[in-house]
Amino acid sequence: MRRSTYLSLIGATALLGGAAAPALAATCSDAQFSQAVLDRFPNIRLVCSEIIEKEGQQYAVVKGDLVRTGNNAVYMKFKLPDGTKSDTRKIETRPEFRVKVDGKPTSVRNLAVGQELTAYVKVSDPVIALEPAVEESLVLVPIEPAAPMVAENTAEMPHTASPLPAVAGLGALLLAFGGMLTFLRVRRES
Protein backbone atom coordinates (compact mmCIF):
# COMPACT_ATOMS: atom_id res chain seq x y z
CA MET A 1 0.00 0.00 0.00
CA ARG A 2 2.67 2.38 1.05
CA ARG A 3 4.88 1.35 -1.89
CA SER A 4 2.07 1.81 -4.39
CA THR A 5 1.39 5.27 -2.98
CA TYR A 6 5.02 6.26 -3.56
CA LEU A 7 4.89 4.93 -7.10
CA SER A 8 1.69 6.84 -7.78
CA LEU A 9 3.22 10.02 -6.43
CA ILE A 10 6.32 9.59 -8.59
CA GLY A 11 4.16 8.93 -11.65
CA ALA A 12 1.96 11.94 -11.02
CA THR A 13 4.99 14.18 -10.48
CA ALA A 14 6.55 12.98 -13.71
CA LEU A 15 3.34 13.62 -15.63
CA LEU A 16 2.84 17.08 -14.15
CA GLY A 17 6.50 17.95 -14.69
CA GLY A 18 6.31 16.84 -18.32
CA ALA A 19 3.24 18.91 -18.95
CA ALA A 20 4.61 22.00 -17.26
CA ALA A 21 8.08 21.91 -18.95
CA PRO A 22 8.37 24.05 -22.13
CA ALA A 23 8.52 22.18 -25.43
CA LEU A 24 12.12 21.54 -26.45
CA ALA A 25 13.25 23.88 -29.27
CA ALA A 26 13.87 22.17 -32.59
CA THR A 27 17.44 21.60 -33.65
CA CYS A 28 18.90 21.40 -37.15
CA SER A 29 18.87 17.60 -36.99
CA ASP A 30 15.24 17.17 -35.92
CA ALA A 31 13.58 20.17 -37.60
CA GLN A 32 10.68 19.07 -39.80
CA PHE A 33 11.91 20.47 -43.13
CA SER A 34 9.28 20.13 -45.82
CA GLN A 35 10.06 17.85 -48.74
CA ALA A 36 10.13 20.90 -51.02
CA VAL A 37 12.91 22.44 -48.91
CA LEU A 38 14.89 19.17 -48.88
CA ASP A 39 14.48 18.85 -52.66
CA ARG A 40 15.77 22.38 -53.30
CA PHE A 41 18.40 22.39 -50.54
CA PRO A 42 19.46 18.75 -49.92
CA ASN A 43 22.29 19.61 -47.52
CA ILE A 44 20.24 22.08 -45.44
CA ARG A 45 20.75 20.05 -42.25
CA LEU A 46 24.52 20.15 -42.74
CA VAL A 47 24.77 23.91 -43.33
CA CYS A 48 22.15 24.81 -40.69
CA SER A 49 23.70 26.28 -37.55
CA GLU A 50 20.49 26.66 -35.49
CA ILE A 51 16.72 26.87 -35.74
CA ILE A 52 15.07 30.12 -34.71
CA GLU A 53 11.48 31.27 -34.53
CA LYS A 54 10.35 34.47 -36.20
CA GLU A 55 6.79 35.69 -36.66
CA GLY A 56 5.54 32.27 -35.57
CA GLN A 57 7.57 30.39 -38.17
CA GLN A 58 10.68 28.25 -37.82
CA TYR A 59 13.77 29.18 -39.80
CA ALA A 60 17.11 27.44 -40.23
CA VAL A 61 20.01 29.86 -39.80
CA VAL A 62 22.71 29.38 -42.46
CA LYS A 63 26.00 31.26 -42.60
CA GLY A 64 28.20 31.56 -45.64
CA ASP A 65 30.73 33.53 -47.63
CA LEU A 66 29.73 35.93 -50.35
CA VAL A 67 31.30 34.73 -53.60
CA ARG A 68 29.75 37.20 -56.06
CA THR A 69 27.43 40.19 -56.18
CA GLY A 70 25.49 41.82 -58.97
CA ASN A 71 22.22 41.92 -60.93
CA ASN A 72 20.12 42.36 -57.75
CA ALA A 73 21.40 39.12 -56.32
CA VAL A 74 24.12 37.77 -54.11
CA TYR A 75 25.80 34.41 -54.58
CA MET A 76 26.83 32.55 -51.45
CA LYS A 77 28.60 29.37 -50.46
CA PHE A 78 27.53 28.01 -47.09
CA LYS A 79 29.87 26.48 -44.57
CA LEU A 80 29.81 22.72 -44.13
CA PRO A 81 30.82 21.11 -40.82
CA ASP A 82 34.06 19.68 -42.31
CA GLY A 83 35.27 23.17 -43.26
CA THR A 84 34.44 22.87 -46.95
CA LYS A 85 31.76 24.94 -48.68
CA SER A 86 28.43 24.09 -50.24
CA ASP A 87 27.39 24.66 -53.86
CA THR A 88 26.88 28.26 -54.89
CA ARG A 89 23.41 29.57 -54.03
CA LYS A 90 21.82 32.63 -55.56
CA ILE A 91 19.64 34.88 -53.37
CA GLU A 92 17.64 37.62 -55.08
CA THR A 93 17.70 40.92 -53.23
CA ARG A 94 17.67 44.68 -53.74
CA PRO A 95 20.80 46.91 -53.91
CA GLU A 96 19.49 49.13 -51.10
CA PHE A 97 18.60 46.23 -48.77
CA ARG A 98 20.77 46.41 -45.66
CA VAL A 99 22.39 43.38 -44.09
CA LYS A 100 24.75 43.04 -41.15
CA VAL A 101 28.46 42.71 -41.93
CA ASP A 102 30.69 42.44 -38.87
CA GLY A 103 27.76 43.80 -36.86
CA LYS A 104 27.40 46.92 -39.02
CA PRO A 105 24.44 47.64 -41.32
CA THR A 106 25.67 47.54 -44.93
CA SER A 107 23.64 47.93 -48.10
CA VAL A 108 23.88 45.13 -50.63
CA ARG A 109 25.48 47.46 -53.20
CA ASN A 110 28.41 47.97 -50.80
CA LEU A 111 29.08 44.29 -50.15
CA ALA A 112 32.34 42.67 -51.17
CA VAL A 113 33.21 39.05 -51.81
CA GLY A 114 34.68 37.23 -48.87
CA GLN A 115 32.29 38.82 -46.38
CA GLU A 116 30.28 36.52 -44.14
CA LEU A 117 26.51 36.79 -44.43
CA THR A 118 23.64 35.09 -42.63
CA ALA A 119 20.46 33.84 -44.28
CA TYR A 120 17.28 32.19 -43.03
CA VAL A 121 15.66 29.19 -44.70
CA LYS A 122 12.01 28.65 -43.81
CA VAL A 123 11.54 25.14 -42.44
CA SER A 124 8.08 24.65 -43.95
CA ASP A 125 8.54 26.31 -47.39
CA PRO A 126 11.35 26.44 -49.95
CA VAL A 127 12.09 30.12 -49.39
CA ILE A 128 15.18 31.94 -48.16
CA ALA A 129 15.90 35.47 -46.88
CA LEU A 130 19.03 37.43 -46.06
CA GLU A 131 19.22 38.44 -42.40
CA PRO A 132 18.17 42.10 -42.29
CA ALA A 133 20.36 44.62 -40.47
CA VAL A 134 17.44 45.82 -38.38
CA GLU A 135 14.40 44.04 -36.94
CA GLU A 136 11.95 43.94 -39.84
CA SER A 137 9.92 41.47 -41.85
CA LEU A 138 12.03 39.01 -43.82
CA VAL A 139 12.19 39.41 -47.59
CA LEU A 140 11.61 35.82 -48.59
CA VAL A 141 12.50 34.62 -52.08
CA PRO A 142 12.27 31.12 -53.55
CA ILE A 143 15.31 28.91 -53.04
CA GLU A 144 16.89 28.54 -56.44
CA PRO A 145 18.71 25.39 -57.49
CA ALA A 146 22.46 25.52 -56.93
CA ALA A 147 24.02 27.12 -59.98
CA PRO A 148 27.46 28.56 -60.49
CA MET A 149 27.38 32.03 -62.02
CA VAL A 150 29.88 32.46 -64.85
CA ALA A 151 29.63 35.33 -67.31
CA GLU A 152 30.51 35.16 -70.99
CA ASN A 153 34.12 36.03 -71.76
CA THR A 154 34.08 39.49 -73.33
CA ALA A 155 37.57 40.52 -72.22
CA GLU A 156 40.25 41.41 -74.73
CA MET A 157 43.94 40.92 -74.04
CA PRO A 158 45.17 44.32 -72.85
CA HIS A 159 47.94 46.22 -74.60
CA THR A 160 50.68 46.23 -72.03
CA ALA A 161 53.54 47.36 -74.27
CA SER A 162 54.46 50.96 -73.49
CA PRO A 163 55.62 53.11 -76.44
CA LEU A 164 57.82 55.15 -74.09
CA PRO A 165 61.06 53.13 -74.47
CA ALA A 166 60.70 53.45 -78.26
CA VAL A 167 60.08 57.19 -77.87
CA ALA A 168 63.19 57.55 -75.71
CA GLY A 169 65.25 55.42 -78.11
CA LEU A 170 64.16 57.43 -81.15
CA GLY A 171 64.87 60.69 -79.31
CA ALA A 172 68.38 59.51 -78.41
CA LEU A 173 69.00 58.40 -82.01
CA LEU A 174 67.90 61.79 -83.34
CA LEU A 175 70.17 63.60 -80.88
CA ALA A 176 73.07 61.35 -81.92
CA PHE A 177 72.26 62.04 -85.61
CA GLY A 178 72.24 65.78 -84.89
CA GLY A 179 75.62 65.44 -83.18
CA MET A 180 77.01 63.59 -86.17
CA LEU A 181 75.77 66.32 -88.52
CA THR A 182 77.38 68.96 -86.30
CA PHE A 183 80.64 67.05 -86.43
CA LEU A 184 80.47 66.83 -90.24
CA ARG A 185 79.62 70.50 -90.59
CA VAL A 186 82.41 71.68 -88.30
CA ARG A 187 84.94 69.50 -90.11
CA ARG A 188 83.73 70.77 -93.47
CA GLU A 189 83.90 74.39 -92.40
CA SER A 190 87.36 74.18 -90.86
Partner: protein
Protein backbone atom coordinates in the same frame (compact mmCIF):
# COMPACT_ATOMS: atom_id res chain seq x y z
CA UNK B 1 84.46 78.53 -116.24
CA UNK B 2 83.35 81.14 -113.67
CA UNK B 3 79.82 80.10 -114.40
CA UNK B 4 80.38 76.45 -113.39
CA UNK B 5 82.37 77.53 -110.27
CA UNK B 6 79.46 79.74 -109.35
CA UNK B 7 77.16 76.73 -109.73
CA UNK B 8 79.45 74.59 -107.57
CA UNK B 9 79.50 77.26 -104.86
CA UNK B 10 75.71 77.47 -104.98
CA UNK B 11 75.46 73.68 -104.61
CA UNK B 12 77.89 73.64 -101.69
CA UNK B 13 76.05 76.45 -99.96
CA UNK B 14 72.72 74.64 -100.51
CA UNK B 15 74.17 71.44 -99.12
CA UNK B 16 75.57 73.29 -96.10
CA UNK B 17 72.16 74.89 -95.52
CA UNK B 18 70.44 71.49 -95.79
CA UNK B 19 72.96 70.06 -93.34
CA UNK B 20 72.35 72.89 -90.92
CA UNK B 21 68.55 72.51 -91.15
CA UNK B 22 68.76 68.72 -90.72
CA UNK B 23 71.05 69.21 -87.77
CA UNK B 24 68.63 71.65 -86.11
CA UNK B 25 65.60 69.44 -86.89
CA UNK B 26 67.34 66.38 -85.42
CA UNK B 27 68.20 68.26 -82.24
CA UNK B 28 64.70 69.70 -81.84
CA UNK B 29 62.90 66.40 -82.54
CA UNK B 30 65.35 64.44 -80.36
CA UNK B 31 65.00 66.91 -77.51
CA UNK B 32 61.18 66.83 -77.83
CA UNK B 33 61.03 63.04 -77.75
CA UNK B 34 63.45 62.84 -74.81
CA UNK B 35 61.44 65.51 -72.97
CA UNK B 36 58.25 63.55 -73.64
CA UNK B 37 59.88 60.46 -72.15
CA UNK B 38 61.13 62.44 -69.14
CA UNK B 39 57.68 63.96 -68.60
CA UNK B 40 56.03 60.54 -68.79
CA UNK B 41 58.54 59.17 -66.28
CA UNK B 42 57.86 62.08 -63.92
CA UNK B 43 54.10 61.61 -64.38
CA UNK B 44 54.52 57.90 -63.65
CA UNK B 45 56.39 58.51 -60.40
CA UNK B 46 54.35 61.50 -59.19
CA UNK B 47 51.00 60.14 -60.42
CA UNK B 48 51.56 56.81 -58.71
CA UNK B 49 52.62 58.39 -55.41
CA UNK B 50 49.70 60.81 -55.47
CA UNK B 51 47.25 58.01 -56.31
CA UNK B 52 48.49 55.90 -53.39
CA UNK B 53 48.18 58.89 -51.03
CA UNK B 54 44.68 59.72 -52.31
CA UNK B 55 43.59 56.14 -51.84
CA UNK B 56 45.00 55.96 -48.31
CA UNK B 57 43.30 59.26 -47.44
CA UNK B 58 40.00 57.91 -48.79
CA UNK B 59 40.24 54.86 -46.51
CA UNK B 60 40.49 57.05 -43.40
CA UNK B 61 38.07 59.90 -44.16
CA UNK B 62 38.65 63.17 -42.33
CA UNK B 63 36.34 64.34 -39.56
CA UNK B 64 33.42 65.77 -41.54
CA UNK B 65 31.23 66.69 -38.55
CA UNK B 66 31.79 70.43 -39.13
CA UNK B 67 31.53 70.24 -42.94
CA UNK B 68 28.67 71.63 -45.01
CA UNK B 69 26.55 69.00 -46.75
CA UNK B 70 27.71 70.23 -50.17
CA UNK B 71 31.35 69.87 -49.16
CA UNK B 72 30.77 66.27 -48.03
CA UNK B 73 29.06 65.55 -51.36
CA UNK B 74 32.00 67.05 -53.28
CA UNK B 75 34.42 64.99 -51.20
CA UNK B 76 32.53 61.77 -51.99
CA UNK B 77 32.37 62.72 -55.68
CA UNK B 78 36.12 63.38 -55.78
CA UNK B 79 36.77 59.96 -54.25
CA UNK B 80 35.07 58.28 -57.17
CA UNK B 81 36.21 60.76 -59.82
CA UNK B 82 37.65 59.51 -63.07
CA UNK B 83 41.34 58.94 -62.62
CA UNK B 84 41.08 58.03 -58.95
CA UNK B 85 42.48 54.58 -58.11
CA UNK B 86 39.93 51.88 -57.30
CA UNK B 87 42.35 49.70 -55.37
CA UNK B 88 45.95 49.19 -54.35
CA UNK B 89 47.67 45.96 -55.36
CA UNK B 90 50.54 44.68 -53.23
CA UNK B 91 52.83 41.70 -53.66
CA UNK B 92 54.78 41.57 -50.39
CA UNK B 93 57.39 39.07 -51.66
CA UNK B 94 58.32 41.46 -54.50
CA UNK B 95 57.91 44.65 -52.44
CA UNK B 96 55.53 45.77 -55.19
CA UNK B 97 52.83 48.32 -54.36
CA UNK B 98 50.89 49.81 -57.23
CA UNK B 99 47.64 51.79 -57.56
CA UNK B 100 45.00 50.10 -59.71
CA UNK B 101 42.91 52.37 -61.94
CA UNK B 102 39.53 51.64 -63.46
CA UNK B 103 40.80 51.63 -67.05
CA UNK B 104 43.77 49.97 -68.71
CA UNK B 105 44.54 52.94 -70.99
CA UNK B 106 48.04 54.36 -71.56
CA UNK B 107 47.82 57.10 -68.90
CA UNK B 108 46.57 54.67 -66.22
CA UNK B 109 49.21 52.07 -67.04
CA UNK B 110 51.91 54.74 -66.95
CA UNK B 111 50.86 55.62 -63.37
CA UNK B 112 50.16 52.13 -62.13
CA UNK B 113 48.02 49.19 -63.20
CA UNK B 114 44.51 49.05 -64.68
CA UNK B 115 41.47 46.79 -64.50
CA UNK B 116 41.15 44.72 -67.67
CA UNK B 117 37.95 45.76 -69.47
CA UNK B 118 35.30 43.03 -69.64
CA UNK B 119 36.55 41.19 -66.54
CA UNK B 120 35.30 41.27 -62.94
CA UNK B 121 36.26 43.59 -60.15
CA UNK B 122 37.72 42.62 -56.78
CA UNK B 123 34.61 43.41 -54.70
CA UNK B 124 32.07 41.84 -57.04
CA UNK B 125 33.85 38.54 -57.59
CA UNK B 126 34.53 36.48 -60.69
CA UNK B 127 37.86 36.59 -62.50
CA UNK B 128 39.27 40.05 -62.04
CA UNK B 129 42.10 41.11 -64.33
CA UNK B 130 44.84 43.66 -63.76
CA UNK B 131 47.11 44.84 -66.57
CA UNK B 132 50.48 46.55 -66.19
CA UNK B 133 53.45 47.49 -68.35
CA UNK B 134 56.24 44.93 -68.51
CA UNK B 135 58.79 47.78 -68.50
CA UNK B 136 57.10 49.46 -65.53
CA UNK B 137 55.58 48.21 -62.29
CA UNK B 138 54.83 44.73 -63.61
CA UNK B 139 58.45 43.96 -64.56
CA UNK B 140 58.74 42.77 -60.96
CA UNK B 141 56.36 39.91 -61.84
CA UNK B 142 59.23 38.07 -63.55
CA UNK B 143 60.30 37.01 -60.04
CA UNK B 144 56.87 35.98 -58.71
CA UNK B 145 56.42 32.36 -57.66
CA UNK B 146 53.51 29.97 -57.24
CA UNK B 147 52.31 30.29 -53.64
CA UNK B 148 53.18 33.99 -53.31
CA UNK B 149 50.56 36.23 -51.72
CA UNK B 150 48.83 39.02 -53.67
CA UNK B 151 46.83 41.58 -51.68
CA UNK B 152 44.24 43.92 -53.17
CA UNK B 153 42.91 46.66 -50.89
CA UNK B 154 39.66 48.20 -52.15
CA UNK B 155 37.62 50.88 -50.38
CA UNK B 156 35.46 48.10 -48.92
CA UNK B 157 37.75 45.21 -48.11
CA UNK B 158 41.24 43.71 -48.21
CA UNK B 159 41.24 40.72 -50.56
CA UNK B 160 44.00 38.13 -50.50
CA UNK B 161 44.93 35.76 -53.29
CA UNK B 162 47.55 33.02 -53.52
CA UNK B 163 49.40 32.56 -56.84
CA UNK B 164 48.31 29.25 -58.37
CA UNK B 165 49.86 29.38 -61.86
CA UNK B 166 52.16 31.39 -64.12
CA UNK B 167 51.62 31.01 -67.88
CA UNK B 168 53.05 32.48 -71.05
CA UNK B 169 50.47 32.63 -73.85
CA UNK B 170 50.10 34.17 -77.30
CA UNK B 171 48.95 37.79 -77.32
CA UNK B 172 45.55 36.79 -78.77
CA UNK B 173 44.89 33.85 -76.44
CA UNK B 174 42.04 35.01 -74.18
CA UNK B 175 41.26 31.71 -72.48
CA UNK B 176 42.85 32.70 -69.17
CA UNK B 177 40.74 35.86 -69.06
CA UNK B 178 37.49 33.84 -68.89
CA UNK B 179 35.15 34.34 -65.94
CA UNK B 180 35.32 31.97 -62.98
CA UNK B 181 32.73 30.87 -60.42
CA UNK B 182 34.95 31.67 -57.45
CA UNK B 183 36.82 34.96 -57.09
CA UNK B 184 40.21 34.85 -58.78
CA UNK B 185 42.86 37.35 -59.84
CA UNK B 186 44.68 37.43 -63.19
CA UNK B 187 47.69 39.71 -63.66
CA UNK B 188 48.62 40.40 -67.28
CA UNK B 189 51.76 41.90 -68.77
CA UNK B 190 53.75 41.59 -71.98
CA UNK B 191 56.36 38.90 -72.53
CA UNK B 192 59.34 38.73 -73.01
CA UNK B 193 60.07 41.30 -70.33
CA UNK B 194 63.01 42.69 -72.31
CA UNK B 195 61.95 43.13 -75.93
CA UNK B 196 62.07 45.95 -78.43
CA UNK B 197 58.65 46.69 -79.97
CA UNK B 198 55.33 44.92 -79.43
CA UNK B 199 55.99 41.75 -77.50
CA UNK B 200 54.36 38.71 -79.13
CA UNK B 201 53.27 37.00 -75.90
CA UNK B 202 51.60 37.69 -72.57
CA UNK B 203 52.77 36.72 -69.08
CA UNK B 204 49.77 35.67 -67.00
CA UNK B 205 49.81 35.21 -63.22
CA UNK B 206 46.66 33.62 -61.78
CA UNK B 207 45.71 33.54 -58.11
CA UNK B 208 42.89 31.95 -56.11
CA UNK B 209 40.94 33.75 -53.39
CA UNK B 210 42.03 33.25 -49.79
CA UNK B 211 38.92 33.07 -47.60
CA UNK B 212 39.25 34.39 -44.08
CA UNK B 213 38.92 30.80 -42.85
CA UNK B 214 41.87 29.66 -45.05
CA UNK B 215 45.17 29.24 -43.30
Amino acid sequence: MDHSKHHRDDGARGFARLLRWSEAAAYVAGALLCSLFALAQADSALGSTRALEEFAAGLAPPDQSQWAAGRVRDYEKAKHAEGAPVAVLTVPSLKLEVPVFEKDDEISLNRGAGLVAGMGNPDQGGNFGVAGHRDGYFRALKDIKVGDLIEVRTRIKMHRYRVTSIDIVDADDKRLLADTELPTITLVTCYPFYYLGNAPQRYIVAGSYQWSSDT
